[in-house]
């Protein structure tokens, strides 16, 4: 008789544990994780347009058309400028894997030189915003406070107050800015990739863009006085972790407290 009572509570714990592991696994699968990409150094070249066109024809023309005029599945690239090419290819979003709601950041397919060459080619087609120089994205002497004010007013609604990203409509999302290089942040503001609004140089001046970059990069190093940051996306994850974690603990505790541990003589 001492064997029959012993199995039941153990099975109960196992079921609870299994269920929670399952929930955790599903959650992890849904949220996924970001990856980092290498930064690039500028090596602009004048006569690289031909080389850029060559790469474009091989890598990009399938969707964007041989003249970069755009097709049914991809927009025209005439006038988008080398800044757009830089952002899309250096973050690995282009060439795209598929025409999804949102292109994920991934390992770049083109090397920095190729990115410059394709950029030069696209720039030669119809101009547009150009890749900023390293001095333009340097955060030395930047106004961090102004950067924060601009970021909280015009960026934080989508990218979260510390650049953790967030959801948009119909499967689109604002990516986390934790791996973005200063040049990528600059070119993203300048060109407005995908659903992101455009912040041209007369709306957010180059100096203000530097301030925003300074804020985005500085906020990454902020310590977490509360302990675990939980992705720093705010009360939703904190509540979820507290709820699931505490629930797990509470269920186990309740089972332990109420379990029929010993058998008395009268049943």
């Amino acid at each position: 008789m001492s064997f029959t009572w012993r199995r039941r509570p153990a099975a109960g714990y196992a079921v609870v544990l299994l269920g929670l592991i399952l929930v955790g696994a599903i959650y992890a699968a849904i949220t996924g994780s970001g990856e980092s990409a290498a930064s690039t150094t500028p090596t602009a070249s004048q006569a690289a347009i031909a080389k850029g066109q060559q790469i474009f024809d091989l890598t990009c023309a399938t969707c964007h058309g041989l003249q970069a005029q755009g097709t049914a599945v991809a927009p025209s690239l005439i006038g988008v400028g080398s800044a757009a090419v830089y952002f899309q290819t250096s973050t690995g979003r282009m060439p795209a894997k598929a025409t999804d709601a949102e292109n994920d950041r991934k390992t770049p397919q083109l090397n920095p030189l190729e990115i410059r060459q394709v950029g030069a080619y696209i720039q030669s087609l119809g101009g547009g915003p150009a890749i900023p120089t390293p001095a333009m994205v340097s955060t030395i002497g930047a106004n961090l406070a102004l950067g924060q004010a601009l970021f909280t007013a015009d960026c934080a609604q989508c990218h979260n107050f510390d650049g953790a990203g967030g959801a948009l409509t119909y499967g689109k999302y604002a990516p986390a800015l934790t791996a973005s290089t200063p040049t990528q942040i600059y070119t993203a503001m300048l060109t407005g990739p995908e659903a992101m609004p455009v912040f041209n140089d007369t709306t957010i001046t180059p100096s203000e863009k530097r301030d925003v970059i300074a804020y985005v990069t500085a906020v990454r190093a902020t310590p977490n006085p509360g302990g675990f940051s939980l992705g720093r996306v705010g009360p939703v994850t904190e509540g979820l972790v507290a709820f699931l974690g505490l629930l797990f603990f509470m269920v186990l505790a309740a089972m332990w407290i109420t379990a029929k541990h010993r058998k008395t003589a009268d049943e």
Binding site: A149, Q157, E194, T203, A253, I257, R262
Partner: protein
Amino acid sequence: MSNPSAPDGPPDEPADAPAAPHRVIGTPPPAQARTLLGDGTGDGTGDGARPAPRDLPADPQNLRQAKTAERIVAALFILSTLASIGFIAAYVGLELNSVDSVLRSNLALGTSMSVAFLALAVGATIWVRHIMPNVELTEQRHPLASDPEAREAFAETFAEGAEASQFVKRPVLRRTLIAATVPLAVAPIVLLRDMGPLPGTTLRHTVWRKGMRLLKYGAYTPISPGEFSSPGGMITVVPDGYQDDPDALASATSIIIKFQPGLLQPPTVMNWTVDNIVCYSKICTHVGCPAALYEQTTHHILCPCHQSTFDAPRGATVLFGPAPRPLPQLPITTDAQGYLVAQSDFHEPVGPSYWERG
């Protein structure tokens, strides 16, 4: 209230237990200890019939196991003691002069308090499970009402008291007493005045006025249509002169969006736009969150709080979500210097509904 007609009283307290040996603080007198768990009939204040004591075993079944459990419980209680002392020490001792030290302090306080409570709880549970007798008990529910005699006695006492106090006989006393209570009861209602002056029409208006410039939030510089020229652009704007007034900004903060030519259509008011630039309130009409997640591909304006979605080129009409009405559109034009200015205030209240606005 004590009833003089109950000379003996309920025999709950057996004459202060004169011969009780070693009564421990916080425990019932030894003579009663075995009856605390209920008896199936008595209600504690009843007729004094002493129920039969329960047959609780004096010792746990497995004495060796109980001994081990006792040691574990004692160890846990000592751990809890140490953790509590550690909590006090951490609170008193740890400095709080930097973010890192706050982190250390939070960790120390949280850990010590968790351990203190957890060890106490685990110890109590082990105590109950391994040391206390493992007996199942059934207790009957009893009616909550007092027995008829007690109720009758109370009614009698009440009537006697009312009579003896002369409350009935002396109308002057009675009426002045009642009169004294009336203003006292009104006083808390008068205090409700402190809930403020009534809002009047303030909820219907913002500080936007004719000719007031739209300033870019943060830098507080005016904006010209020639600068804000890239389709798909969006920026947060505030009224000139109120950039440091949070109360004003709470309702006046707006966003401007630049569209491709030909995209804007009714119910957007075209006369209120400049060069395909339209200005909407940034305050969501649901519960007032800042709704500014503008997607330049779909032209949706999304509110992050409850996913209300507005159709930006069509007067910010509601596409989805709990928002009851479109984002109000601010009439804008340009001034002599070519900067964007307001034509007037919003033509409807901004932000969430209130009582006069369904």
